[in-house]
Symmetry: D2
Subunit: 313 residues, 4 copies
């Protein structure tokens, strides 16, 4: 872990049902709208310190637009940009940056997901009723489950190749992974800091390109997730699986589909952090996986097949 990248900053999610998706994220899921232009809505959880952690963009399809990581310093940003260029990955180069942050260096993983790294950012400045009661909070607490963006999960045809990309470009380390019997890596969990993961990559079974598996926000307590399940139920949201606890990473989870079909999760890791500087990646075999999730729940079939955008049949 180089320490050059500080944390996952934001994810751009595409939707072909923009109004419904925006209604879901603001009224049901519990994000706040920072601003909206004709093309996108910029959203954040109440304790995300930046301008946005989710950019929701009108599009003809669903999936992920780009993924933004914040660098640890201006110098770290330059170092990473140079390393990425040197590594030969597809580079889009420097862009001005979306509302809320400064110039960003854009590049692609080998599976057509667009990443950007940036350093300059506008700390969110709450005003009026959004001013928090305590000065160490980023904005007003309104009782909703998501506290901050947590991680995302991408699909790739070759997870081992994606791993090289993450290590080379972001200086990420692997905390856990799935070792398939056929020698391939079935999934890999990455972190750039002390979180147990901020990005997961699992094997693409649908021959799609650049697909998204899910985006996740963290809740303060597991109870927030149980309560959210009742809110999703009341609002007719498709609950795919959960609440339950993953064996991998031990995360308490709940997966739903927002109106356009993108999978979103609420998750709680408890007090788990990866503090050991020499953490040995935990390997999960197929035999391990056959035990199901931590408390025995069998993984639902759509979890293996559904990604966004859907695969053209």
């Amino acid at each position: 872990m180089t320490g050059d990248i500080a944390h996952l900053g934001h994810v751009e999610m595409l939707t072909d049902r923009y109004e419904e998706s925006l209604d879901f994220f603001t009224r049901v899921y519990g994000l706040k709208l920072t601003e909206e232009d004709g093309a996108s809505a910029y959203l954040r959880a109440w304790d995300d310190y930046e301008h946005h952690s989710l950019k929701l963009t009108r599009a003809g399809t669903t999936g992920v637009g780009h993924i933004g990581y914040r660098a640890a310093s201006p110098e770290a940003l330059e170092r990473r940009a140079a390393a990425i260029e040197a590594a030969g990955y597809k580079v889009h180069g420097w862009v001005d940056g979306d509302p809320g942050h400064g110039r960003a260096f854009r590049f692609e993983d080998p599976f057509a997901h667009v990443f950007e790294i940036y350093y300059d950012t506008n700390r969110y400045a709450p005003a009026g009723a959004d001013r928090p009661a305590l000065k160490n909070m980023s904005s007003a607490f309104t009782g909703v489950p998501p506290r901050r963006i947590d991680h995302l999960n991408l699909l790739a045809e070759d997870v081992a190749e994606f791993r090289t990309f993450m290590e080379t470009c972001l200086g990420a380390r692997v905390t856990e992974y799935i070792q398939l019997d056929n020698g391939r890596i079935g999934g890999c969990w990455f972190t750039v800091n002390n979180k147990s993961y901020d990005l997961a990559c699992t094997e693409e079974h649908g021959r799609g390109d650049g697909r998204l598996h899910h985006v996740t926000y963290a809740t303060d307590q597991r109870e927030d997730i149980l309560r959210a399940a009742d809110i999703f139920l009341q609002n007719g949201v498709h609950i795919e699986t959960g609440p339950h606890k993953h064996a991998i990473q031990g995360t308490f989870f709940l997966y739903v589909w927002e109106p356009a079909g993108n999978r979103v999760e609420l998750a709680n890791a408890g007090a788990r952090l990866i503090l050991a500087p020499d953490w040995e990646p935990v390997m999960w075999t197929e035999a391990d996986r056959e035990k199901g999730q931590a408390w025995g729940l069998k993984t639902i079939e759509t979890f293996h097949t559904h990604g966004t955008p859907p695969v053209q049949e």
Copy 2:
């Protein structure tokens, strides 16, 4: 933040009621005994990955023996040792290290607290019934509240001077602090990683030297702390204050005194982390502090006066 220090590793706590203290920590508070020699017991929470996070030592008094931080690498350890020597703080030099970790570099802050930094460590190897059900856990889950060591709080007559020590020696950064009306710093919260703090220092009002305010373990959920309160009640443990939520750092807390009088805490920070590389320390004024804790609880008098060892009158 230099990144040279990975995390708080362990605290040595002194007790003049060794058997009672050990009974408290193992049977009531919920730590596990790794090993015991004639002088000390080595304890850890179920998900602490090292040999011990609490060294409980027989002594003629109470308080803190030493504080151990683990370095990020062998090179980082050397860099820190050199920096500490260069800074002119009192240095004890290299010691062999307690059971469970390798050689350590010992030094003192200006207020007589002994620190050590080390890199080599023996990852705890659970055996028999202590083998965890999931391979990403450090040992068996037995239902007890503490998951891992979280932080400690020291007392110092000059918190500003202590701050310089922490920045210089450990490369720590300040996340929150109390600015007194008289220009002094009333308290300061430090971190060496993404935790919101791993060490706090508050102003010594008792003219003691090298005193301890409290040692804290993290729980996965706030409910663990509510349940622990009932367990402490049932076991006749002195509950000093809480459960409640601190305004500073937003931590849900419960403070009790172990049988020898050392204050120990259980705390839950929810999903709060300090991910921003350019986090601006949050300043709390005396006016802020007069509002009490987050939900209005007035800070109990003993919280300002009780430390260990007690001050000789």
Copy 3:
């Protein structure tokens, strides 16, 4: 316990800041408005099955208007009315009943609190977006803490006399009480069913008449109360005391003042019920009470003095 009275149905609360109180109860505390006329608002928690459980009435003062209990049957209602008349308490007689329920028999305790008993009621019929996701819920779940009305607490100069009133008129039984050293009863907790209490009466120290101590709604989980504390904090509500756990009845509590000054509580009893038909009332002495609340919190001074309406000095 006669079984003639089924449960506490509603409380009428007086406010001299009607708009602010209504805003508090609907937007912050989490009740739903069933209907409003010029004089009163009729409110209920999401799982209250009747038309309202709180009648909020514009008035020149604060306090309690009347307390409504629902009888177990039409015959039980007649039996109770006859028993009350026979007992010689001040009787107002039969009234038509507020919106949402049928005719009611009104009477007074010796301390000027007005009670009514009724049987016919209009089960709340949720429509549109208020239709619940599950057919065993009384209306839509929106994520707010209060699930149903739980109890109220009145003040009386002679709790023993109030006890006779409750036993005679409502056929209530005492589950717990405070025995003062001077021979008086300091407080008494009553129930007409398996709840541990639906009405408490504590000694009036302010020489007021017919005063209210507080009204309480039940939450499903203790976490709902912790979350509510943050919501109250964010909305500038006066948090008087808590969250903490009462020694008496073991209830997890949080007390706040609504804008007009009436004290309202959120409480969680866990799985505690009084199922024993021959439950022996639990006696608490002054010595017991000196230990504070369950986890040691000292009872805040205003809890002993503040009632509504405030006493004229």
Copy 4:
């Protein structure tokens, strides 16, 4: 509801692995052993007020021995005994009663489950370390999940006939039920007090006689159940399904099999009670049931087939 029966008192469970079952209930599940004779162990949860709520009996098979309900008074007991005899159900007559309670009237439902009703009981008298910290608790709190016995679930070939039995013999009322498309009742939930149910009966699909589906204890919080899931996982207990929330009754649940194969549950109903004296039974159709549990979990196949004793093939 006649009010003659106060509450479910205890269940006798048969086991052909007595030592393992007893170890499970005391060390893993969290019950306390009151006493043991050569044939049976008498167990209770920490807040059960009677001598035992689970009688665990050595046997050549598994399943339920008998079910004990406590009457509301000596007179109510006589009334019920007379009514049961008059109704023509198979009567065993008066028996002396197990340790912990007085004489009992025994009878059978049409599907060979043995019931008993009794009034005299020995309130559990905690001694030594089992004395509770608060005098309104039945014994010491040790941190375990089950607080009190909650309900049991029996299997019967004709649920409608079982319903008549429950109404006639125990004066129970139905709070919810499943109406099958074929006109039969698929399941029925009964209560004799304000609990939402203390006995459920679901259709027997295995042609067994007198079979048990499960026995359940109530926890104070949902978090207790999540924590219990980790404890079961750690102890190698077979987790059949959950944690999740039932659509019917809205109960948060977790089902495991004790070592001999009897299904046991931990459940939390939150603040839900049936307080309406004229509660209309909630009907669930097959179409409702096809939506799965509250949050969409499909009911696991064994839940429909597994009962104890197992059916002889």
